[in-house]
Subunit: 339 residues, 2 copies
Amino acid sequence: MTRVTIRDVARYANVSVTTASRALNDTGRMARETRERIIQAAAKLGYRPNSMARGLVSQRSFTIGLLTNDTYGRFTLPVAAGLSAAMVDRGVSVFLCAGEGDPQRTLLNLEAMQEKCVDGLVVSGKRIDRGLPVELPRTGIPTIYINAACPEGEVGFVPDDSGGAEAATLHLAGLGRRRIAHVTGPRNFAATGIRADGWLKALDRMGLAPWGEALFGEWSEAHGYRMADHLFGQTSRGMPDAVFCGNDQIARGMIDRLTEIGVRVPKDVAVVGYDNWEIFAKATRPPLTTVDMGLLELGRQAGLTMLGMIDGKPTPAGIRRTPCTVVVRESCGARSEAD
Amino acid sequence: MTRVTIRDVARYANVSVTTASRALNDTGRMARETRERIIQAAAKLGYRPNSMARGLVSQRSFTIGLLTNDTYGRFTLPVAAGLSAAMVDRGVSVFLCAGEGDPQRTLLNLEAMQEKCVDGLVVSGKRIDRGLPVELPRTGIPTIYINAACPEGEVGFVPDDSGGAEAATLHLAGLGRRRIAHVTGPRNFAATGIRADGWLKALDRMGLAPWGEALFGEWSEAHGYRMADHLFGQTSRGMPDAVFCGNDQIARGMIDRLTEIGVRVPKDVAVVGYDNWEIFAKATRPPLTTVDMGLLELGRQAGLTMLGMIDGKPTPAGIRRTPCTVVVRESCGARSEAD
DNA sequence: TGGATCTGCGCAAACGTTTCCTCAAGATGG
DNA sequence: CCATCTTGAGGAAACGTTTGCGCAGATCCA
């Protein structure tokens, strides 16, 4: 069973291959009747253009490569979904290249992408201060960096973590909380610093003093769990009435420990997380108010931008920050007021 | 900056395009010296064969499509990683097609895959009793179903859930537990039934009676949480000394609640989960002993099988079950004995 | 020494498209 | 009535490979 080619369509419709091609691409001049006859013939025969042949002459493959070193997929997956959705409508497919952080493997993928003549490259990571484990050769292929280190002069997309942290803190302040602590991830992640700045900025705006320093540590439940003891263990110097956590896992550990030691959430302490990782956020008791980074939409925006770059539209270099939003559940106390 | 083609290589090495092609593909007859000269010329010029041109004549694209409706990526991601790893060594790249369970989108992706002339198709889902939301047309493209409903006469891969459940239960029994309950997901998932059967089979093998019926419900922490009360609330009829949970989320909810109501894990009750979703399994207190489905290896196996099918190797239809292994942490009590 | 075989390499066709150029026939204009 | 333009359509080249076939020269064997 061999594929049906444009030649078959042309023969069936009694026209030349040239005319068939023009009819199917809606270009060139021809009698309306002819065009329709050809289109119907194509439909009847179940014709699908061979995109390799098309790519060969048009020098476009209608594919892009997604290079990721985010093994776990927490960030890449929603980004990929948004990207893919924006692309598929225009007939562009996405190659998934999981580099696993291994230079060897990444290089292999990179070469494969070159051979496949991808129209664009998206580099996606899990932290904005680390890029690919290999230097990207200057290939002239349009490239976008998502949630990864973006070299000078390139275009990048990241969630607006400063704005997200600010919104979360303002949300807490707006609910009447005055003593807002911040527990977050490792100091050497760029994102932690940015989020901490957003926290400070919001406090400053509201005329509030930060409750101690930002408590850096791991991105883990265990860290939140320990910091609960740290913050609420010694009653001598008073306690915060809210904790803004750098991610949902920390928030989860925090809430679990608070519950164990008899601190009520959200009555005594409001807790807000970061990431809106639903599998966590919805399972905490009570469900977690948290910041959604809008990764799906970020991926979509990146996709649209990439399509523009491929079409040769001039695209200014620089980092685009896409908005983050507070997702209100119960751990901040906003809902229980309504009760 | 235009791409360097085989013509450039040929000119540089003072041979015909034909000879250059043969040298680079290590086919045909020619003087060793000539071959080496051509290969060096290619390296020097940084030649990468254009896989579209190659595909056009060889009728192979060196790509496969991964169609998934697993929005969350819990299953697809490790499978994709294994698949991709097995493929990339052979120069085959993977198209990621996230269908999101939407027939429209899935169809769009499917058409794109046909136009791109993929050499193979992998359909990957999150439950073995549901397939794609659209009928797959008979295209003659080699197809493998992973963790999804596999039509009669096709080849499929699934984790051996029966064996996994059996191993988990035997592990508990081997640690001296005699009253082993089972809390699991929705009754209408095929996987729940299979895992429950494995549980019963192992009990039977050990001459133990099941502790009540399998407790079906949701795949959620909340379900595990509630079933803890159900199992350990009424002391009148005694309590199990072990619970085998259908996934890690259920196990997490179970352990959380047990801790709250003063039942000690693993001293009073051993708990084993399923999935080895590390982000959960490592964060429970104590860390969760659970069943790993070996999805990475499953993906790799599927990839190798796919390569065989593409090469025309006869491949018997049917379901392949790949082994699951018990990952021992602390919630089963195996470790605490050592202490 | 002369046919047969082997060696090393090139010509040209093919893969399925798109697109530049050409061309006939009819319409238009002065 | 002739020159010009418009319309509708086809021929052929091109994209970058692979590959069947052919061919000249060298080697072999009797």
